[in-house]
């Protein structure tokens, strides 16, 4: 079976292969040539070569990081990659629509000397929103920036589904948020059927760093301190929790886990936009609008 798997994965972008005949042809060959699955010795040689390359690359990376004291790249945290094969259960939560007027409840809590600002939307349901936030939209109770936008090409980092349409691909970040039907789900899994369901049922899906999974903190690699913000499942509700001070991912994750958060997904922090309306009608506006610079800036909006 593995032999077959190796063969079917073994094709370059410049080759074609007639399926079922084991006929492959590359541009340098004028005629189709018989290209069966590589022999045992060939395959063994390739595996050793790949293994050696991986060992050398890993050693170089570790050496560079030790010598230069540089952080691991933000896009692909090593801890996440190493845990990508773990099977993790997904928590499902149903957002209830209440008859009472929608508003946000806010309070502060302190865990491990970290002040956490907890904002709970009540009586409203979340959806993703792509692009600049609408102005003077009185139905919008809360809005917070969701998936990261890449600085190099302006694309959304990681898989992103908007109203059933796949806008961006990738799963370097294992955490995900899926909004399908009347359910919002936070979890940590490389492959989840909710991805397909979001497409089939015109739902929403995005990926971010998972900070807490099944009540346990996830220690992700990116270092440095910033104002942190997370979408959390806490006490049976979906809430936004942010730090009052600049904190590391490690300390923020630990504080969330110690607070009793069941699932937490990192959101864009720092100067990212966060709007919410409290019961007295006050519209709180935090952060800077960057939609002029990044057309793919995106939000979770509660209405």
């Amino acid at each position: 079976m593995n032999e077959h798997k190796d063969f079917y994965d073994n094709i370059s972008d410049n080759e074609i292969r007639v399926i079922g005949s084991h006929l492959s042809q590359s541009p340098d060959g004028a005629k189709p040539s018989e290209k069966n699955a590589p022999s045992g010795k060939q395959r063994q040689w390739w595996w050793w070569a790949i293994l050696a390359a991986i060992v050398v690359a890993t050693a170089c990376t570790v050496l560079c990081m030790l010598l230069m004291g540089k952080d691991a790249p933000d896009e692909e945290p090593a801890a996440d990659v190493s845990q990508s094969y773990e099977t993790v259960a997904i928590d499902s939560l149903v957002m209830t629509h209440e008859d009472a007027p929608a508003y946000c409840e806010e309070r502060n809590d302190t865990v491990n000397d970290i002040i956490l600002h907890i904002v709970t939307p009540l009586g409203c349901a979340p959806k993703l929103h792509l692009g600049r936030l609408p102005e003077n939209d009185t139905t919008m109770i809360m809005a917070v920036q969701a998936a990261d936008v890449r600085g190099d090409n302006g694309e959304i980092a990681g898989a992103y589904i908007y109203e059933g349409e796949l806008k961006s691909k990738g799963k370097s970040k294992l955490g995900f948020c899926a909004i399908v039907g009347n359910e919002i789900t936070l979890g940590r899994q490389a492959e989840t059927p909710l991805f397909e369901r979001a497409i089939e049922e015109n739902g929403y899906f995005f990926r971010q760093y998972s900070l807490v999974n099944e009540g346990k903190m996830i220690d992700i690699k990116p270092k440095g301190k910033s104002l942190r913000r997370a979408l959390c499942c806490y006490e049976g509700r979906i809430v936004i929790i942010e730090t009052a001070e600049r904190e590391s991912y490690h300390d923020f994750s630990q504080a969330l886990a110690d607070l009793g958060v069941e699932e937490a997904l990192s959101l864009v922090g720092g100067e990212a936009q966060f709007h919410y309306t409290t019961a007295d009608g006050t519209n709180h506006r935090i952060g800077t609008d960057v939609s002029d610079r990044y057309e793919n800036v995106n939000y979770i909006v509660w209405r």
Partner: protein
């Protein structure tokens, strides 16, 4: 007689006749199966795994399908045009919409050779 291709995981099953498949495109760790009617179904298998299922399930009908590079499997019966200049291949089923796919020029060059070759073989017969 044609045998349907069945792609099944723990939650979903796709059953489709080979002649109804226009192409299968890689979507990261997933694949999207396009039917000649214009429908598209995302399946939770990598393209190599779909290729494996085609080879093992479809018997002689599997040779209707050609893997072009890492990104796509096409049904050769629906090749409408190959453009090396634009690095594109267009597929079209009777009464269906044209579906355009980008591929490397090198792979399309080889694909064109294969189609030309089949034309020569047909002429000789």
């Amino acid at each position: 007689m044609q045998i349907p291709l069945i792609i099944s995981n723990t939650t979903d099953l796709l059953r489709i006749m080979p002649d109804d498949i226009l192409c299968v495109e890689a979507e990261g760790n997933y694949s999207k199966v396009y039917s000649i009617d214009g429908d598209a179904v995302l399946v939770s298998f990598q393209l190599g795994q779909v290729e494996n299922k085609m080879a093992t399930q479809l018997g002689s009908n599997a040779t209707d399908f050609i893997r072009v590079g890492r990104g796509v499997i096409i049904n050769r019966n629906y090749i409408f045009s190959i453009s090396l200049g634009r690095a594109q291949i267009a597929l079209k089923a009777p009464r269906g919409k044209k579906h355009t796919i980008e591929a490397s020029r090198e792979s399309l060059k080889v694909l064109k050779q294969l189609v030309d070759q089949s034309l020569e073989e047909r002429s000789e017969q």
